[in-house]
């Protein structure tokens, strides 16, 4: 079957197997390997991408179900050569070690901050519930989210 989607602003159309998972479509067909597979069972969050702006685990969606949607992956976060504030936050606050969970964490954070521009530590911990990190113990990730939130609020103010 054929599926047509927009990924990081680029429209594409591909012939795919019905059973192909979206995460495999992104990684194997669209060749965007920034999105990772950690479990294939919607339990780790490594595969999180934005679908129409909302964080979704791309291992729980068939590529076929993505017909017509807009997808943002980690590769789409950099704009005009500038890091997204969320990426900046993870870098500044040492929000990653091995980096495997990171793309999912970044996409989830982007979604979170679009809904809640000033989350508390408890709210961040709650929001992270679907995304596992085995390296950081989460505290630096929380700092990273807060850094990004601050940065985004400041930019909005000055805009």
């Amino acid at each position: 079957m054929r599926v047509t989607v927009t990924i990081n602003g680029q429209r594409r159309s591909d012939e795919i197997e019905d059973r192909l998972l979206l995460v495999h479509y992104l990684r194997e067909v669209a060749q965007l390997t920034g999105t990772h597979v950690g479990c294939e069972t919607s339990l780790c969050g490594a595969c999180t991408v934005l679908i129409n702006g909302k964080a979704v685990k791309s291992c729980t969606v068939l590529a076929a179900q993505a017909e017509g949607v807009e997808i943002t992956t980690v590769e789409g976060l950099v704009k005009d050569g500038h890091l997204h504030p969320v990426q900046e936050g993870f870098w500044e606050e040492h929000g990653l070690q091995c980096g495997f969970c990171t793309p999912g964490m970044l996409m989830l954070t982007t979604d979170l901050l679009s809904r809640n521009p000033d989350p508390s530590e408890a709210e961040i911990r709650h929001a992270l519930d679907g995304n596992l990190c085995r390296c950081t113990g989460y505290q630096h990730i929380i700092n990273a989210v807060q850094y990004a939130a601050r940065k985004m609020r400041e930019t909005r103010k000055s805009a």
């Binding site: 197997e17 059973r19 192909l20 990684r27 194997e28 060749q31 965007l32 390997t33 920034g34 999105t35 990772h36 597979v37 950690g38 479990c39 294939e40 069972t41 339990l43 780790c44 490594a46 992956t73 980690v74 590769e75 976060l77 950099v78 890091l83 990426q87 993870f90 870098w91 500044e92 040492h94 990653l96 070690q97 091995c98 980096g99 495997f100 969970c101 990171t102 793309p103 970044l106 530590e121 961040i124 911990r125 709650h126 992270l128 519930d129 596992l132 990190c133 085995r134 390296c135 950081t136 113990g137 989460y138 505290q139 630096h140 990730i141 929380i142």
Partner: protein, 781 residues
């Protein structure tokens, strides 16, 4: 660096140089590697804990369009030898890469299907028919020792792999002279390391040059190359092993797995690149587990709380086969079990037992968390029995500062230490007297607050080569090469294989300061055996203490050569020169200098300045540590147990760690945080469970409780700094400290909260249900 020049980078919170690629989706993990014509391999795994294989029918699978090959154990019999155990053991079973005749644990690979893609290979597995005869299963290591237990490897006659005893000091006298002997049983449950990136391998064989390239998610590419060379009977110079970006290891990727062997073998057999990627279910079932140690402890003590000795009997569950270092881990536990205390005599007996489970192996801490748990639970038990304060009992028994370097009963020599300040600092942070008062007050109103304390010492920087088993490839040493390129930028090749630890940054900090250049002028390369000189790899918190020391050796050689060249150009003796801000300068007058680039030009250019000095700027260092380092610290927590639900809530978590000199505080914090999280996970949440039929009940992340952000506390960190005299950097190592300190700390806190119920001991993980049941039982009694 000359005296008087302040380090610019060492000691500062430099943000990581590995991050830009990782936060933009530009990291290349093994599953991201795509080669033309690459095939996918998928393993068929045993659904039985123990069974005889009567026959395997692969014909239908082979006929499926897209399937290229299907292999079983019969296809490799006599062609691939047994997988390797490097640690000494008395009974070492034959361990084929694909099961032959029998399967001995759930998940053991039985066949492999290779197809044009993973989906097709997976389909092929459904068409393979295996005829099994189930056999009696044994999963409890204590029952496995009973005379009528089913025997897992018939050739040994029983289920014992190894029995060993270590005795030191006058333990019998200590037992006689004690006022009392405190006896108890401790269990370090079985854990799964669960790196977020499962394992994986890609192999490519060039039949023309007879050259094998293997990408693997590994912590030790050189070790892996050496072992694969042995198994595949290839010379090492015709093999290249690459550890690409590795998504976490924690010990479980320091191994040689059946799948790595099979992937390489298949690529050679089929003349096509082959990829194997582990799925999470496989990861939980077939990547090495950790811990799984039952301990019977006897501690002779005086009535004032002085400990006279420590005796332990270890029942070590080895699983069905021995992986690379499976038999080595419990030994570390025994050698370190006296912790940071003066314990003049000790003895331990190890019984390593086969069961129908996956093999455990190194997992973050590898023996030291077990050791620390023994030492710290012993202190708490003594305090409880003698009604003494748990902090004071530790203080009383600490090895005193004056005793360092201190030889402990097991023979190990602790390099440096000062344990009381860390304890004091931790107690100050939680405001110990105040929180004890709150606890007493709370108990009157049915509020159960507990205070947990753990003073740990651990062993890092492994290590002098004799500490590793003789059959281990590589050694305890580490290597580095430093190269100043013609444009005076620097390339470092390190033999360690970081996978999250951040040495691309910390090593660049070291080099930049030593050579007076910018951090962006240094690139650190690792994880490729065709580029990097032989190295041992990243494990045992050795990356910086051993790998960093090797790098310093190389740096010093480079500095010496460059000073010699500069000396002829400046007509100043080399020993009066130093590196400063892009120049080589007179140490006494930094304005008298020449730019580094001129020295570099002189070395690489055609007008070589001094006859007798070789052109080029390329130096290597191989560093063999003289001893291990022993970081220490005290963790303290305040928890509250809800007596109606058994739920544990953290009120405070304080960690005071002493890892020697710190190169990058930001990275150290990250290591400590992650370590604490894994230690708390053992105390409260995680446990690999097999039922009596050998079925793995924790085969998904739904059932195996890797903690989420909400399940962990906010960590408060502090440190003391006692530099190590062992290595030139004064660093000790920090990769595992958090894990080692936190497990006993949390258990101590929860049991302290439960003290009013008369509950003295509970086995980990301290899940709400277990706590609730214990409270119910206590209330009824």
């Amino acid at each position: 660096m000359a005296a008087g020049i302040v380090p610019k980078f060492v000691g500062s919170r430099v943000k990581r140089r590995e991050d830009p690629r990782l936060i933009s989706g530009n990291g290349t993990y093994v599953d991201d590697i795509k080669l033309p014509g690459m095939l996918a391999a998928v393993m068929l795994r045993s659904p039985y804990g123990h069974a005889k294989i009567n026959s395997i029918d692969v014909e239908a699978a082979k006929k499926l369009p897209g399937v290229v090959a299907v292999l079983t154990g019969e296809d490799i019999r006599g062609k691939l030898p047994t997988l390797i155990t490097a640690a000494p053991a008395q009974n070492v079973p034959y361990h084929p890469a694909l099961a032959q005749d029998r399967v001995r644990f759930v998940g053991e690979a039985v066949a492999v299907a290779v197809a044009i893609d993973q989906y097709t290979a997976q389909d092929a597995l459904d068409l393979i028919e295996v005829d099994y005869d189930p056999l009696p299963v044994i999963t409890d290591p204590e029952k496995a020792l009973e005379a009528d237990a089913p025997v897992i490897h018939e050739q040994f006659g029983n289920n014992i792999s190894t029995r060993a005893e270590v005795k030191s000091g006058e333990i019998d006298r200590a037992m006689r002279e004690a006022d009392r002997i405190i006896k108890f049983r401790l269990v370090n449950q079985r854990l799964a390391p669960v790196p977020m990136e499962p394992r994986g391998a890609v192999a490519q064989w060039n039949p023309g040059s007879e050259y094998l390239t293997l990408w693997s998610s590994t912590q030790g590419p050189h070790l892996l190359r050496s072992y694969l060379a042995e198994v595949l009977k290839l010379p090492e110079h015709r093999m290249r092993v690459i550890a690409p970006e590795v998504g976490g290891g924690f010990g479980c990727k320091l191994n040689v797995y059946a799948e790595e062997v099979m992937t390489a073998y298949l690529a050679m057999l089929l003349n096509k690149p082959v990829k194997w990627i582990e799925r999470r279910r496989e990861n939980l079932a077939t990547t090495t587990h950790g811990r799984d140690l039952i301990t019977y402890i006897e501690a002779p003590v005086k009535n004032d709380g002085t400990i006279l000795g420590l005796k332990a009997r270890f029942i070590c569950d080895m699983g069905a086969y021995l992986q690379l270092l499976t038999p080595m881990v419990p030994g570390f536990a025994g050698m370190m079990m006296t912790g940071c205390y003066k314990v003049p005599a000790m003895a331990f007996e190890q019984l390593m037992v086969f069961t129908n489970k996956m093999a455990p192996d190194a997992y973050r801490g590898a023996g030291r968390p077990e050791a620390c748990f023994i030492a710290e639970r012993t202190m708490d038990m003594i305090a409880l029995e003698l009604n003494l304060d748990p902090a004071e009992i530790r203080r009383k028994n600490f090895i005193p500062k004056e005793a360092f370097p201190a030889q402990i009963a097991s023979g190990l020599i602790y390099d440096s230490g000062d344990y009381e300040p860390a304890l004091d600092l931790a107690l100050k942070h939680i405001d110990y007297p105040k929180v004890r008062a709150e606890q007493a007050e709370g108990r009157k109103h049915g509020r159960y607050i507990g205070i947990g304390i753990c003073s740990y010492v651990e062993i890092c920087g492994i290590g002098p080569s004799p500490m590793l088993p003789p059959s281990m490839k590589g050694g305890g040493w580490e290597s580095a090469t430093i190269r100043m390129e013609p444009d005076s930028k620097v390339t470092v090749l390190t033999g360690v294989s970081p996978h999250g630890q951040g040495q691309e940054t910390s090593f660049a900090q070291l080099v930049a300061d030593e050579l007076g250049i910018g951090i962006d002028d240094v690139t650190v390369v690792h994880g490729d055996t065709a580029i990097v000189q032989y190295g041992t790899g990243t494990f045992g918190s050795r990356g910086t203490s051993v790998g960093g020391a090797a790098l310093m050796m190389a740096v010093q050689k480079l500095q010496a050569k460059m000073k010699k060249i500069a000396s002829t150009m400046m007509e100043v003796p080399p020993d009066q020169l130093t590196f400063n801000n892009g120049t080589i300068a007179m140490a006494s007058d930094l304005t008298k200098s020449i730019p580094l680039q001129r020295v570099v030009d002189a070395s690489y250019g055609h007008k070589h300045p001094i006859p007798g000095i070789e052109p080029g700027l390329n130096e290597a260092g191989f560093y063999e540590p003289t001893a291990c380092t022993f970081p220490f610290g005290t963790h303290a927590c305040v928890v509250e147990v809800d007596a109606d639900t058994g739920v544990v809530k953290f009120l405070r978590y304080v960690a005071v760690d002493d890892c020697g000199r710190i190169i990058n505080p930001l990275l150290v914090e990250g290591q400590v945080h992650g370590g604490i999280a894994q230690g708390i996970a053992q105390a409260l949440y995680e446990e690999v469970i097999y039922d009596e039929n050998g079925q793995l009940l924790t085969a998904t992340l739904m059932d195996y409780a890797v903690p989420k952000a909400e399940m962990l506390p906010h960590y408060e960190l502090d440190s003391t700094v006692t530099p190590s005299p062992i290595n030139p950097l004064g660093v000790k190592g920090v990769g595992e400290a958090g894990t080692i300190g936190s497990t006993p700390c949390v258990v101590s806190g929860v049991l302290d909260a439960l003290k009013p119920f008369g509950i003295k001991n509970l086995d980990m993980p301290l899940k709400p249900e277990k706590i609730w049941r214990a409270i119910q039982a206590a209330r009824k009694a």
